[in-house]
């Protein structure tokens, strides 16, 4: 079993939290404490230099007092008991709370740890650096057009302790990812690149690179030198799981964060129990999914992780919540109250959001397309919960002609359209489920680790 490795400062503070919560509750209707420590490491190895740096650390304490109308918080960098006790007193003494009876919650106690086979916290920095060098060396010098090869390794070591009247919880969430980036230059001096990533709530066991992975990344980069821009228009498209996941994330991920309902920003609020997609469409958010990059055991408001079925057979069922929006909207809570770090407030945020797999094979789906585009790789997306417009950008895609993928490549490709129209057009869903890890912002800030994915989807969308 993986060791919790709770930082000493958190371990020493934990026994005192119950008393501070008790003091807070003398004035506030609800009071909680979160101790949050996020550290990490980034290693970059390329042809010309190496960098080993700490990820910007964020470690501190959040005191929350809630009266059903306003969430009052004090956030203090670090874990000094005296400062926390003093801040807790200042927080509750300075406020006139409304009368409010919090919803009863079950007792939650326990310590939880991401299971890892090769624990980053047990490895030396040299071992990690050498592993990155080894991957980089496997690609180096394979083609004269390759001007650089970067291997980028990131680890996030997250520890949190949460306490309220009914909770005494601790977790260690271990996340890792690695990018392989191949940069090439053409004869006219143009620079192109392709990349591949591995990620998970896991240890180094998920960061293995096959020769095929490496070859495909090099081939992708070199092929991009002759890629063209696509003629804008409506196409039959097949999305890879990564692209499917990004569509899912931007549409029925951000679009169903219920703080957006409260702010009148989400069109989804008008579609509860209504058809929003083809009957083949099922979407879930599940922070308890083992191994996925966006997983955790409890959220930043002490809610135990559990799946939420967002869309069921094409019908929108429910959104994902934080405490505040669930209280204000009088809807059931889900375990999606997350904060970037101690210095930021909680919002309703995704964890692992994905289309559920179907029954088709990819080969059958490709065979159904006479003229279309196979969208290989996503590069970015942006939400539009009110307009329900899709903006997903793909790094590249391939032509499908006569039921076969050709060598003709287009880059970059933007996907646009109205979410329900696009989801209604889905006519086949493959029988695989793959989930990519990444970071997600709320608008342009509040980054949290998430994952998204799904199967291949056959649908119609506007490309440009």
């Amino acid at each position: 079993m993986t060791d919790m490795k709770l930082p000493l400062a958190l371990a020493e503070l934990r026994p005192a939290l119950g008393e501070i919560v008790g003091q807070g509750l003398k004035r506030a209707p609800y009071f909680s404490i979160l101790l949050s420590s996020n550290h990490g490491l980034t290693i970059v190895v390329d042809n010309r230099e190496e960098r080993v740096t700490e990820r910007p650390p964020a470690a501190g304490t959040v005191l929350s007092a809630f009266d059903g109308a306003t969430n009052f918080e004090r956030a203090i960098g670090g874990f000094n008991l005296g400062k926390i006790q003093s801040a807790a007193r200042d927080l509750v003494n300075g406020i006139s709370f409304q009368k409010y009876t919090p919803q009863a919650e079950p007792e939650r106690r326990g310590d939880f740890v991401t299971p890892v086979l090769i624990d980053p916290l047990e490895m030396s920095t040299l071992e990690k650096l050498d592993r990155c060098r080894e991957v980089q060396h496997r690609v180096k010098g394979s083609d004269p057009r390759i001007v650089n090869i970067q291997v980028i390794y990131n680890e996030r070591n997250e520890h949190s302790v949460f306490a309220d009247t009914n909770a005494d919880l601790a977790q260690r969430v271990q996340r890792v990812n690695m990018f392989l980036v191949v940069i090439v230059a053409g004869e006219a001096g143009e620079v192109r690149y392709d990349y591949r990533a591995k990620a998970g709530s896991a240890g180094w066991e998920v960061l293995t690179w096959s020769d095929e992975d490496i070859q495909r990344t090099m081939d992708g980069a070199l092929a991009l030198l002759s890629a063209k821009r696509i003629e804008p228009g409506e196409y039959r498209i097949i999305t890879t799981p990564g692209v499917s996941g990004t569509i899912c994330h931007e549409s029925f991920g951000h679009g169903v964060e219920t703080d957006m309902f409260l702010k009148e920003r989400a069109r989804a609020v008008h579609f509860i129990d209504k058809v929003v997609g083809s009957p083949l469409v099922n979407i879930a958010d599940d922070p308890s999914q083992p191994g996925s990059y966006g997983s955790y055991f409890f959220d930043d408001e002490g809610r135990m992780a559990a799946p939420t079925q967002i869309v069921e057979n094409g019908v929108f069922r429910r959104g994902i919540t934080d405490r505040y929006s669930a209280t204000a909207l009088e809807i059931p809570r889900s375990a999606n109250g997350r904060r970037q770090d101690y210095s930021r407030k909680v919002y309703a945020r995704m964890s692992n959001t994905y289309f559920s797999p179907g029954t088709s094979t990819l080969e059958d789906m490709i065979a159904q397309v006479d003229h279309g585009i196979f969208l290989d790789k996503w590069s970015s997306g942006m939400e539009d919960p009110q307009g329900w417009g899709i903006q997903v950008t793909c790094h590249y895609g391939h032509e499908i002609k006569g039921g076969r993928i050709t060598d003709r490549m287009f880059a970059p490709i933007g996907i646009a359209g109205y979410v329900p129209d696009v989801l209604q057009s889905i006519t086949a869903v493959s029988n695989v489920l793959e989930i990519d890890g990444g970071n997600c912002g709320k608008g342009h800030k509040e980054l949290v680790p998430v994952a998204s994915g799904g199967p291949h989807l056959l649908m119609t969308a506007r490309l440009g």
């Binding site: 230099e49 920095t125 620079v191 192109r192 702010k263 970059p412």
Partner: protein, 439 residues
């Protein structure tokens, strides 16, 4: 604690150099939803970042340098943190590079005096002004707003004798205006950052967004378009300066780090454009000394003094923006961090750039070009087709193209504006851009 760290570092004989930075922050955050104040937060932080350099050697025995870093919270073990950073530095093998030495620092204005005195009062006042401005228009509602005000003190000391301190302020606001007409709903979301409240005309900003919100109720999807596209104010700022999620193309391609890494094909003394420049010649400064610029400071993370660096003159690259490390690698002068982007005034008044027909893009969903290739295909959140004296609102469609190609055929206005991270012409007419409509 800073003195203790510095003293401990001075005693280390195994280091080739070191830098320590102390950050102390205090922030007030106010969040509003239609039913009232959702959350009020006060945030305090203090941390120390230590960077060390150590002499190492390459496999062939050539001299090399390794770098390592560590962070500390107040009260944490200083010796252990320095040991960790030193250990890591000993593992890394890079070309020899050093740290900057002492130099005069410019006195760059980066503080809001009122915020320094009482951040809470300032942020509650900003929130109230936003509410009051929105309330002036009965057809729109402010359905969400966030106001953050931060005071940050940075103290940097390095082994070459730099000992510098600066205080800065930053204000971030976000707001959503919502409107409804029958079954049709519309919203305008905006986010802005400034060093001081006085650099905003909040009331005018809200009034503009209220008009967009109402016009958006009438907006349809655009038809495809190939022709003049006008960007103004914030939309132009995003195009030129990028945002906090995505830097700008110019910033990426003009960086010495990108050049060293093989990402940038740009060459000093050569045009930054592949093709003929049909529009106004491009001149750009990277200015970290711009008063109240959101990316300004008296010194950067290495302790290099702020500068106004002439980056591109009449289409030709003058220099790369280089930290000390990449300056040493490429044997070029160090410039310090990029800072803010500045362009000179154009030659035509804005009114002369608004010759019909043209498309004005008011807001992108997210303008995020590939910062290496410059290619983009970005959804348009809201804009106008201006033709025959009529401003017809639209939303949707994608602006498709290449960043440097777009800049090779643009006219800039003589009127300039300051937009936090950008100072320069407030209007630009790109003569030939493509919008992919839904048909």
């Amino acid at each position: 604690m800073l003195n203790q760290i510095v003293e401990a570092l001075k005693k280390r004989t195994d280091l080739a150099g070191w830098t320590v930075r102390q950050f102390q922050t205090r922030e007030v955050q106010v969040y509003a939803v239609p039913r009232g104040i959702e959350s009020q937060r006060e945030v305090d932080g203090e941390k120390y970042l230590i960077d060390v350099l150590r002499n190492t050697s390459a496999t062939d025995g050539a001299p090399a340098v390794g770098s390592g870093d560590a962070s500390l919270l107040p009260g944490e073990n200083i010796g252990h943190a320095i040991d960790q950073a030193t250990l890591v530095a000993g593992l890394v093998v890079n070309p020899v590079h050093g740290l900057p030495g002492p130099a005069p620092f410019p006195d760059v204005a980066i503080c809001d005096a009122d915020l320094q005195k009482d951040a809470s009062a300032v942020m509650l006042d900003v929130m109230e002004r936003m509410r009051a401005a929105a309330a002036k228009n009965p057809d729109v509602r402010l359905t969400a707003a966030e106001c953050f005000g931060e005071v940050r003190n940075t103290h940097l000391v390095n082994s070459r004798g730099i000992d510098a301190e600066q205080e800065s302020t930053q204000i971030d606001i976000e707001f959503v205006l919502h409107s409804q007409k029958g079954d049709r709903e519309s919203e305008t979301f905006d986010a802005m950052t400034r060093r001081r409240v006085a650099d905003w005309d909040l009331e005018a900003a809200i009034e503009d967004r209220a008009r967009y919100t109402l016009d958006s109720l009438e907006a349809e999807a655009p038809t495809s378009w190939q022709g003049p596209v006008v960007l103004r104010h914030e939309a132009l700022t995003v195009f030129l300066a990028g945002d906090n999620l995505n830097g700008s193309v110019i910033q990426t391609l003009a960086s010495a780090e990108s050049k060293y890494g093989g990402f940038s094909p740009w060459e000093v003394g050569k045009s930054v454009f592949h093709d003929e420049v049909k529009g106004d010649p491009l001149t750009v400064w990277a200015n970290s000394a711009m008063p109240f610029g959101t990316a300004s400071g008296c010194f950067d993370a290495e302790g290099l003094p702020a500068q106004r660096v002439e980056l591109i003159r009449e289409n030709e690259l003058v220099t790369f923006v280089a930290s000390q490390r990449y300056a040493d690698y490429l044997k070029i002068p160090s410039t310090g961090a990029f800072g803010n982007i500045e362009l000179p005034p154009g030659k035509m008044p804005a009114s002369a750039l608004l010759v019909e027909p043209y498309v004005e893009i008011v807001q992108f969903s997210w303008f995020n070009p590939d910062t290496i290739t410059g290619d983009f295909a970005t959804e348009i959140r809201f804009g106008y087709l201006v033709k025959n004296g009529i401003r017809k609102p639209f939303k949707g469609g994608q602006l498709v193209g290449n960043y440097m190609e777009a800049l090779s055929d643009v006219r800039w206005s003589t009127e300039i504006g300051f937009f936090g991270g950008y100072l320069g012409p407030h209007t630009a007419r790109f003569n030939s851009m493509k919008i992919a409509g839904p048909e």
